[in-house]
Amino acid sequence: MSEIAIETRELYKEFRVYHDRAMSMKERVVNWGRHKYEKFWALKDVNLRLEKGKSLGIIGRNGSGKSTLLKVISGIYYPTKGEVKVNGKLTTLLELGAGFHPDFTGRENIYFNASIFGFTRKEINAKLDEIIAFSELGEFIDNPVRNYSSGMYMRLAFSVAIHIEPEILLLDEVLAVGDSAFQEKCMSKIKSFREKGVTMIFVSHASMQVSKLCDKAVWLKDGMIERYGDAKGVVKAYERWMDTR
């Protein structure tokens, strides 16, 4: 049996939904001991095992807990119950260009953005030329990011993200950026990740993408696993269920 990259065991995540958020001292004293929030379980008893080098797609309707699951695995959210085991260097892409500073140049932002993912200056220097070339920004790389068009901004952000050589990559619907030519480049980059044996998890609305890119898929419904297994089978079942609605 091959090595496990990601494992979740009886994972639960609870959110507090505040009705009228009491934050001031007076209200705290007045409402002492009374809970002004309701509990809401966003994930219930999620058990997953993903082997190294495999890719997993997470599908489900809005609010089914897809993004929450991704955030819990990445460490952004702390699980309420249960545990997440990650074996390898994990990189999460929830949104492109996190931490981009508009007053700094594209080049400066590459350093900052890559360092957020835990990269050292040496590692970034080694990749710099490649990142700039992939972004197709040319001489604009030394202009402040605030002068970029949204397409240029996204290309730069995606270029940094894609060059960080992760062992485990978590993606949240960030694939839809740029023109079709650029998207094509991204898709081939992701395919090459797969060939290199990078473990990947995608959150996607597009079930087509999942059946094309993933080995396995998990279908979440109200925070629980409805179905988990071979990507094509799960996607088919999900689509059939969607059609009946």
């Binding site: 001292m25 929830l94 835990g118």
Partner: protein, 258 residues
């Protein structure tokens, strides 16, 4: 805790970038730019020298230098506390999108203020020479005092930043209390004018020991009170550990609450 330190070390480049962003952003878009780091304390010193040599004459010799030593050390404390309290809340968008050890953000605030303090020392050293006080070899204790001060400040900023996420009134409370803290620390007056029976309370204030130690090595030109500094160090280490535990526990729900 060891695991945490290793993890933060892995994110050292991010920490470095945050610190330099903090230092650069402060004077961004100003004509003099980074030069303000030096100009700021210099002008401060000029104002005090003028006020205390012409308007409010003081019995204390070289009072402006006396005060300047305390004020620079205080600015390190106050700057870290004031910017640090709101630092997690103001970086909410980053915290929600990427995982990184959350300690990196409050740490970057403390380190940025520390670097600012060290740079302003250049002006202070020049002032010591010009005023005739001179530089004594006891100044070699400076890194030791700075280390103790930093070990005390890190947990303080960690706790304030994370509690502020759940209880936003803290930021406003801190804004007021920092003024009180300033006046109960012997910066604009020597500790000797405090009545004997009250002095014990002043020595419960960690900032008093810090300022006193800096005054010893630079103004009085003697070795700092080493037992006091040692106990301050021990206390800061314990506080450091408590601060780490509190932060580690409360940070779990930070991304949901901001």
């Amino acid at each position: 805790m060891i695991k945490k330190i290793i993890e933060i070390y892995r994110y050292r480049e991010m920490l470095r970038n945050l610190v330099s962003k903090e230092l650069q952003a402060r004077y961004k878009n100003s004509v003099l730019g980074f030069f303000w780091t030096f100009l700021n304390p210099l002008l401060m010193l000029a104002v005090y020298t003028f006020v205390f040599s012409t308007i409010m004459r003081s019995d204390i010799k070289d009072f402006s230098v006396f005060m300047f030593i305390g004020l620079l050390a205080w600015n390190y404390i106050a700057g870290s506390v004031l910017q640090g309290t709101g630092c997690l809340v103001s970086n909410s968008s980053l915290l929600k999108k990427v995982y990184f050890p959350r300690e990196v953000i409050p740490l970057s605030i403390v380190f940025a203020n520390m670097i600012n303090y060290i740079l302003s020392m250049i002006i202070l050293l020049v002032a010591l020479l010009i005023s005739g006080i001179g530089i004594h070899h006891d100044i070699l204790f400076y890194p030791v005092i700075l280390l103790v001060q930093t070990i005390f400040l890190i947990p303080l900023v960690l706790i304030l930043s994370v509690v502020n996420v759940y209880f936003r009134d803290l930021e406003h409370t801190v804004n007021v209390l920092i003024n009180l803290w300033f006046f109960v620390t012997p910066i604009v007056y020597p500790i000797s004018i405090v009545p004997e029976h009250l002095r014990i309370f002043f020595y419960l204030n960690p900032a008093t020991h810090i300022v006193e130690a800096y005054l010893a090595i630079m103004y009085y030109r003697v070795a700092p009170n080493l037992p006091a500094l040692f106990w301050m160090f021990v206390g800061s280490i314990i506080f450091f550990w408590i601060g780490y535990l509190i932060f580690d526990h409360l940070q779990r729900r930070v991304t949901e609450e901001i």
